[in-house]
Every structure is written in structure tokens, then in C-alpha cells.
């Protein structure tokens, strides 16, 4: 144990002897404990919530999508050929696990009397993953419950799907119509289900809605990085023809809000740590002023100013580390318990889960510790500086009067 430790540890013990210093050092440790615990807990709650949100998002948004409307057709190509072209390019890309073409359009659904305007989604291989039941490929319609209720539809009913653009025939314009059975009714798990689409196989959809918006949804290999593959595809695709969007770009606004929320909560709760750091500065200043004469003696015996400063830096660390460590551990433990036993519940009809989930992330805990160290170190540096500026004779005189 070197000189600096020797002195700092003894001064640390002496903080219990003086009532004022004891109060301040308790305030420091307690404040840091509460602050770090609150930070870890708040971040865990946010991470738990945001994690759910992102999982939900990942189910609804493909890792990568290529939108091209009708534009993919190079001269002389049909829209279908243009789409196949892009799909082949995408499928041949490293890290792409699957490609599916989708077509979005607006149309009508009609039974005997009442046509209803609906969103239509044509799928090439399988309905997208946010359709809760994964049916084996059907050749008929998959209808959202909202539409089924309004039209009084049940599985097995036959309905007509009508395109808003009539087909031109030698005998004049005739509406494009397909008559299809309702194969399945689904309830989407999306919070906003007002415009859940009616799904039908792509061939049917293309025949009806030749001018709908086409899109390729790409699924990626588990390790693949959407941004990298997105960049790669962008280099190979004429931007006038198609637009490559990663799920991050597609959800830019939401992701920004999530980050902002996290930043604001973190800053607000970090104020507790800031206040505790002020208490640390006060505690260090009080220890120093009560030890002025002794620090003067140490200086007189040849302890260099820098080492005396280090004594008080270390004292600051000793006063902080217990509280911060305990708080961090308590916060993480509490978060784990709250998550494990689903202690805090929310009304189940508001969101996908009926409890507040907590997720303790290693990086979050590290950030909390880093911020705590930063604040306390700043306080300790300011407090300790005075130790190095003491004039030994003046300091020793102060003890006698």
C-alpha cells in the first residue's frame, strides 16, 4: 500500500468521526446510489419498452425493401419482367436469404350490393410475417377482420375484387374483376389496423392492378448487416428505377424519437448524479479544510503537491465507488426482478403486453457508470486541487488558532 492509499484510506475512515462530514459523505454515497439505480432502472424500462417496439417493427418492416412502382421495366420490358430482373439481382446478393415481390394497390371488394374500398396486397410466395396465422399458400383472399365485419363476410364466401381502372376491350371499357373465395380472416396485431389490406396471390393482383406499387421485400441471413447490403444494392440499381430502403431508414422518424426519448430521460435522471457529485465536492472540501494543518505537515515533510492531490482524488473515489456500485447493482437487480415477476402491469388493451418489461443492457450500465465516474471525477478534481495549492506554513498556522 503506497503513501497515497495509506493516507486516503485513513481519511476515508475519519469521515465518520465528524458529524457534518459524515452527513455529506452519506449524502454523496446515498445520492450516487439512488442516482445510478434510477438511471439503470429508467434505461432498463426504456430498453424493455423500446425492445418490444422494435421487435414489433421488425415484424412489420422487412430488413430491406426495394420499391419501384412501375418504373423497373426497362424499355420493352413488362412491369413483371422488370420486377423479376431486380428480384434476381437481389437474390444473388451475398447475405440475402429470400426475396418476395409484393404489390400494393387500392381497389374495391364487392359482394352482392355494397362495394367497399380496401387496400389490396398481392404477395408472391407467402403472406408477410405480420399476418398472425401463417396459412399454407392459398389461392383465395385473406381478409382482415375489420373488412369482414363491415361486409358480413365469413370464410368460404365468394366476393368480387374490382380494380378502379377498367380494362380496354374491343367492345369498350370493361371493369377488371376477379371472383375469389374468402380463405381466411385475420386479426392483425398492429396497433392501427384501420387499413389492414386484403391479401391475394400476386398473379391475381397483377392482373387486376397492373399499375399498383410494386416492392421487393428482402429477408436477410441472421448475421447480415442491412445497411451494408443496402449500400451494395444501391450501387447496382439505377436510382431512377428503384429505391432501396433499409428498415432503419423506413422507420427513421420513430427511431429518432426513441433515441430522443432515451436521451431526455437519461439527462433528467442524471441530475441526481450531478447533485450527488456536488455533495462529494462539499464533502471533499470539508475533509480538506478539517485536515488543512495535517496536509500542510505532509507537504512540509516533502510530500509533493501532485501526490497530495492524488490523496484527495482517491478519497473522492472511495467516497463514491460504494454508493455508485451498490446503486448500479441494485438498479440492475430490481429491473431484473420487475421484469421476471411482471410487477408493474398496464391495461392489456393498450399495448401488446400487459406489463412493463425491463431490459438491463450491459452497454447502458456501462454508460451510467461512465457518466457517474465523469461527474464524480470532475468534483474530485476540483476538490483535490485545493490540496495541492496549500501553503504548508499557513496551513499549519491555521490549526493553532
Amino acid at each position: 500500500m503506497g503513501f497515497v492509499w495509506h493516507i486516503a484510506v485513513r481519511y476515508f475512515r475519519s469521515t465518520r468521526a465528524d458529524a457534518h462530514i459524515r452527513a455529506l459523505s452519506t449524502l454523496t454515497a446515498g445520492g450516487l446510489a439512488v442516482g445510478t439505480a434510477a438511471l439503470v432502472l429508467a434505461l432498463a424500462a426504456l430498453a424493455g419498452f423500446q425492445n418490444l417496439l422494435l421487435e414489433d417493427l421488425a415484424r412489420h418492416t422487412p430488413a430491406l425493401q426495394i420499391e419501384f412502382g412501375r418504373g423497373a421495366a426497362v424499355e420493352g420490358e413488362s412491369a413483371t419482367e422488370g420486377a423479376r430482373h431486380l428480384a434476381e439481382l437481389a437474390a444473388a446478393t451475398n447475405g440475402v436469404a429470400g426475396v418476395q415481390e409484393l404489390l400494393y394497390a387500392r381497389g374495391w371488394l364487392a359482394d352482392d350490393d355494397r362495394p367497399l374500398a380496401v387496400e389490396v396486397l398481392g404477395y408472391e410466395k407467402a403472406p408477410p410475417p405480420w399476418i398472425p396465422v401463417q396459412p399454407e399458400a392459398t389461392s383465395g383472399l385473406i381478409v382482415p377482420v375489420s373488412v369482414a365485419l363491415r361486409m358480413g363476410l365469413a370464410v368460404g364466401d365468394i366476393v368480387r375484387v374490382v380494380s378502379p381502372r377498367p380494362g380496354l376491350t374491343p367492345v369498350g371499357p370493361r371493369p377488371r374483376v376477379r371472383t375469389l373465395p374468402v380463405d381466411l380472416i385475420y386479426r392483425s396485431d398492429r396497433a392501427e389496423n384501420a387499413d389492414d389490406p386484403v391479401l391475394l396471390p400476386l398473379e391475381q393482383a397483377s392482373a387486376l392492378f397492373a399499375r399498383g406499387d410494386r416492392r421487393l421485400d428482402l429477408t436477410l441471413a441472421p448475421e447480415a448487416d442491412p445497411e451494408r447490403i443496402g449500400d451494395f444494392l444501391r450501387r447496382g440499381i439505377d436510382p431512377a428505377v428503384a429505391m432501396v430502403t433499409t428498415w432503419r431508414q423506413a422507420n427513421r422518424a420513430l427511431l429518432f424519437v426513441l433515441r430522443l426519448e432515451k436521451g431526455l430521460v437519461f439527462s433528467a435522471v442524471a441530475l441526481i448524479v450531478a447533485v450527488a457529485s456536488f455533495a462529494l465536492l462539499a464533502a471533499l472540501s470539508m475533509v480538506l479544510s478539517s485536515k488543512r494543518a495535517e496536509v500542510g505537515v505532509l507537504a512540509a515533510m516533502g510530500a509533493p503537491p501532485a501526490r497530495l492531490q492524488r490523496v484527495f482524488l482517491l478519497l473522492g473515489a472511495l467516497l463514491s465507488v460504494g454508493g455508485a456500485g451498490l446503486g448500479g447493482a441494485a438498479g440492475a437487480g430490481l429491473a431484473a426482478l420487475l421484469d421476471r415477476y411482471r410487477v408493474i402491469s398496464t391495461p392489456s388493451d393498450v399495448y401488446v403486453v400487459d406489463y412493463v418489461p425491463f431490459l438491463v443492457r450491459g452497454t447502458d450500465v456501462l454508460v451510467v457508470l461512465a457518466v457517474t465516474v465523469l461527474f464524480t471525477a470532475a468534483a474530485a478534481v476540483i476538490g483535490a486541487r485545493k490540496a495541492s495549492l496549500l501553503h504548508p506554513v499557513e496551513a499549519m498556522r491555521s490549526a493553532r488558532t
Partner: protein, 222 residues
């Protein structure tokens, strides 16, 4: 050795300027002991602080153990104090958070000496002033005379080339005083230590090679 010439020092007390030292000259050869006597408030402690590189004179030159104190940087002076000087402060200035033994060891800890040999050395010193059994006591548990003897052991533990002692026997009965003076004699013989003692005790002054009286801001043979 110590060589001081033309040292002046004044304190500013609010609007009043107190000229404490008005041209002090002093030479103490290596291995010699000088006693400084003088009335209270005459500036004896002030002079000792200047000799010990704890305070700077307003004018004059101070050489101690080959080092020009007025020309050295503060960081260099800290090392010099630790290596070459032993201090006995007028008011003991023991560290209350440390035991008697730890107080005696402290200059060695600052110097980075290994603790085991250091504590053996410190214990031997405490034994020589009759305080071996008080090694574990804290300063508050000790009498004034005991504290003073511990302060002297602390000044001697690194066997300094120069010892500056402000009334080292002030609180001591004759037997303890004798022990302390014996200790100083031993150090002088072993290390050829140069000493400056401030004392009010004529018996102590008589045993020193030179006696100087500080009065009116300058030194004169006493």
C-alpha cells in the same frame, strides 16, 4: 552546512507591515549545532521556516546542504525537504489519524521506503525515547511530552543531513529532555548532521556549539 546572508522577511497584517527579519546572517558548519534564543515573537520560527524551505525570504540568500533554496522550484524543494531535512515543529504537528508509530514512519512512507524496515527503524527510535509501548497509541491519547518526543523521532527517522528543531525540549522534564538530546547527539555522530535548535532552555543552549540571539530582526552571538 547552512549559509544564510541578508535574509529579510516582513508580514503584512492588514494595513500594518511587520518587519520580522531585518538582515539575518548565519553560518552553521556541517556537523555543528547552533542554538537560537530570543524573546517570543522575535522571529525564530519564521527563520526556521525559511531554513526549511517552507517559507521564502523577501531578500537574501539561503543555502542549505548545498542547495540554493531561493533559486529552486517548489517541486524540487519538496523532494529536498523529504531527503535532506528533519523538522521538529513548535507545535508537534502529529497527524491525528495515525498512530505514534505511523507518524514516525511517515517521512519514510513519503520517500517510498519499504514499510517493514521502516517500522523496525521507527520502533527502535521510539524505544530510545522510552515510548516503545506507546507505538500503537493515537496522538489524542498521548501527553504533550510524549507527543513532542514522537515528533522528534519522526524528524530523525530518515537520518537527515540537516535537522531544524523548534523548541524540541520545551515540554519535557529533565529526564526526557536528556533522552532527546542524547538521540540528537547520536544522529550527529552517525550522520554528521547539521542542526539548528530554537530553545528557551539555557541548559540545552549550553550544550550547542554556538548560541545566537535573535532580537530586533537580526542575529547576534548570545
Amino acid at each position: 552546512m547552512i549559509a544564510v546572508s541578508g535574509v529579510t522577511k516582513a508580514y503584512q497584517d492588514g494595513a500594518v507591515r511587520r518587519q520580522v527579519l531585518r538582515g539575518v546572517d548565519l553560518v552553521v558548519a556541517r556537523g555543528e549545532t547552533a542554538a537560537i534564543v530570543g524573546p517570543s515573537g522575535s522571529g525564530k520560527s519564521t527563520l526556521l521556516n525559511i531554513l526549511g524551505a517552507l517559507d521564502t525570504p523577501d531578500a537574501g540568500s539561503v543555502r542549505v546542504d548545498g542547495v540554493d533554496l531561493t533559486a529552486s522550484r517548489p517541486s524540487a524543494l519538496a523532494g529536498f525537504r523529504n531527503r535532506s531535512l528533519g523538522f521538529v515543529f513548535q507545535f508537534h504537528q502529529l497527524l491525528p489519524d495515525f498512530t505514534a508509530l505511523e507518524n514516525v514512519m511517515m517521512p519514510g512512507r513519503i520517500a517510498g521506503r519499504p514499510t517493514s524496515s521502516l517500522s523496525a527503524l521507527a520502533l527502535a527510535l521510539l524505544d530510545q525515547v522510552g515510548l516503545a509501548d506507546r507505538a500503537g497509541a493515537f496522538p489524542q491519547q498521548l501527553s504533550g511530552g510524549e507527543r513532542q518526543r514522537i515528533a522528534i523521532c519522526r524528524a530523525l527517522v530518515l537520518e537527515p543531513a540537516v535537522l531544524l528543531a523548534d523548541e524540541p525540549t520545551g515540554n519535557l522534564d529533565s529526564r526526557s529532555g536528556e533522552q532527546v538530546l542524547g538521540l540528537l547527539d547520536t544522529l550527529r555522530r552517525r550522520r554528521d548532521t547539521t542542526m539548528v535548535l530554537v530553545t528557551h532552555n539555557p541548559e540545552v543552549a549550553k550544550r550547542c556549539g554556538a548560541v545566537l540571539r535573535l532580537d530586533g530582526g537580526s542575529l547576534a552571538p548570545g
